[in-house]
């Protein structure tokens, strides 16, 4: 019987998660969070209410009287849009193999996406302007 070779104890380097791993984790975490958030949003906006009774007044009361809906919408905005942008990055990597075009499209998606998130955030903080309110929708006193 061959002797079992002795192995000296050694230190194994800890693998630090790199960007790809963080993004993978983000996709799973945001995806799971988005199931109640997005399904809830759809249920409220498309089943319980619908585009025929939603107007600026609806958004105004929802954001001002029920402040937490702003937090809900902020979560949706960030989680869903970043989740979508990262998905788009994978799609670009899958289909656009030319290096220059690949980089250009990813930068365009990144800059455009950052702009959309910025616009959304400003609107969410700024809220509905009183001039947007339709007839018969009194602004909060």
């Amino acid at each position: 019987m061959a002797a079992i070779p002795k192995v000296a104890p050694r230190t194994v380097p800890v693998i630090r998660p790199r960007l790809e791993v963080w993004l993978w984790t983000f996709m799973r975490v945001s995806g799971v969070l988005l199931i109640p958030l997005a399904f809830g949003h759809l249920a409220i906006m498309h089943i319980i209410n619908n585009v025929h009774n939603i107007n600026a007044c609806f958004v105004y009361y929802r954001w001002n009287v029920l402040f937490w809906w702003r937090v809900y919408d902020a979560l949706l905005l960030f989680l869903a849009y970043i989740h979508g942008l990262n998905g788009l990055r994978h799609v670009i990597d899958d289909y656009v193999h030319h290096r220059g075009w690949n980089q250009a499209l990813k930068w365009a998606a990144f800059i455009g996406g950052a702009l959309v998130i910025l616009i959304g955030t400003i609107a969410l903080i700024g809220g509905v302007r009183v001039t947007a309110l339709p007839e018969g929708c009194p602004p909060l006193g």
Partner: protein, 161 residues
């Protein structure tokens, strides 16, 4: 051996030909579109295709939706016009498709997430069953949603009641 020719398998030949097109943006898309009907990945492949299409469709709508809602702050007088567009029956159809996309992407994504944390589930036969269950869950949620939303579109959007 002199005079003999190495015969590449059909797949390798196709990839080789695709390489000649690698400088074209979207050459990969061309390749994938050619290969999708030939890949024969069964229900697994179609779940993936549907996931990707649904994700891209949702992202497109999300972009439009964030910008139109931002009008309440940036250009308040335009908001009513944007909402009026959504009330058109054609947008109603888009709304039905959108809700289907989000529902499928969410449920299918949940299947993928669960399988990732229980790698044994990635066996092809188990996945085939899980995908079928995902389809069942999707239909169970989407069919009533379709009728409720379809009813609203018909009553308010088309008949104007």
């Amino acid at each position: 051996m002199a005079g003999s020719e190495v015969i590449l398998p059909e797949e390798a030949r196709k990839r080789w030909r695709a390489l000649e097109w690698a400088w074209v943006p979207g050459a990969g898309l061309r390749l994938v579109l050619q290969e999708i009907p030939q890949y024969r990945g069964r229900i697994h492949q179609w779940a993936w295709v549907a996931n990707r299409v649904a994700g891209l469709g949702t992202l497109l709508f999300l972009t439009v939706h964030i910008l139109d809602t931002a009008l309440v702050y940036f250009i308040p007088t335009w908001y009513e016009h944007a909402i009026a567009l959504y009330r058109h029956p054609l947008f109603g159809l888009g709304e039905l498709i959108l809700v289907g996309c989000v529902l499928w992407h969410g449920l299918n994504g949940l299947r993928i997430t669960i399988s990732d944390f229980r790698p044994r589930l990635w066996a092809a036969e188990i996945q085939a069953r899980l995908i079928l269950w995902t389809v069942v869950a999707f239909l169970a949620l989407y069919i009533p949603t379709f009728f409720i939303m379809g009813n609203t579109i018909l009553q308010k959007g088309i008949l104007g009641r």
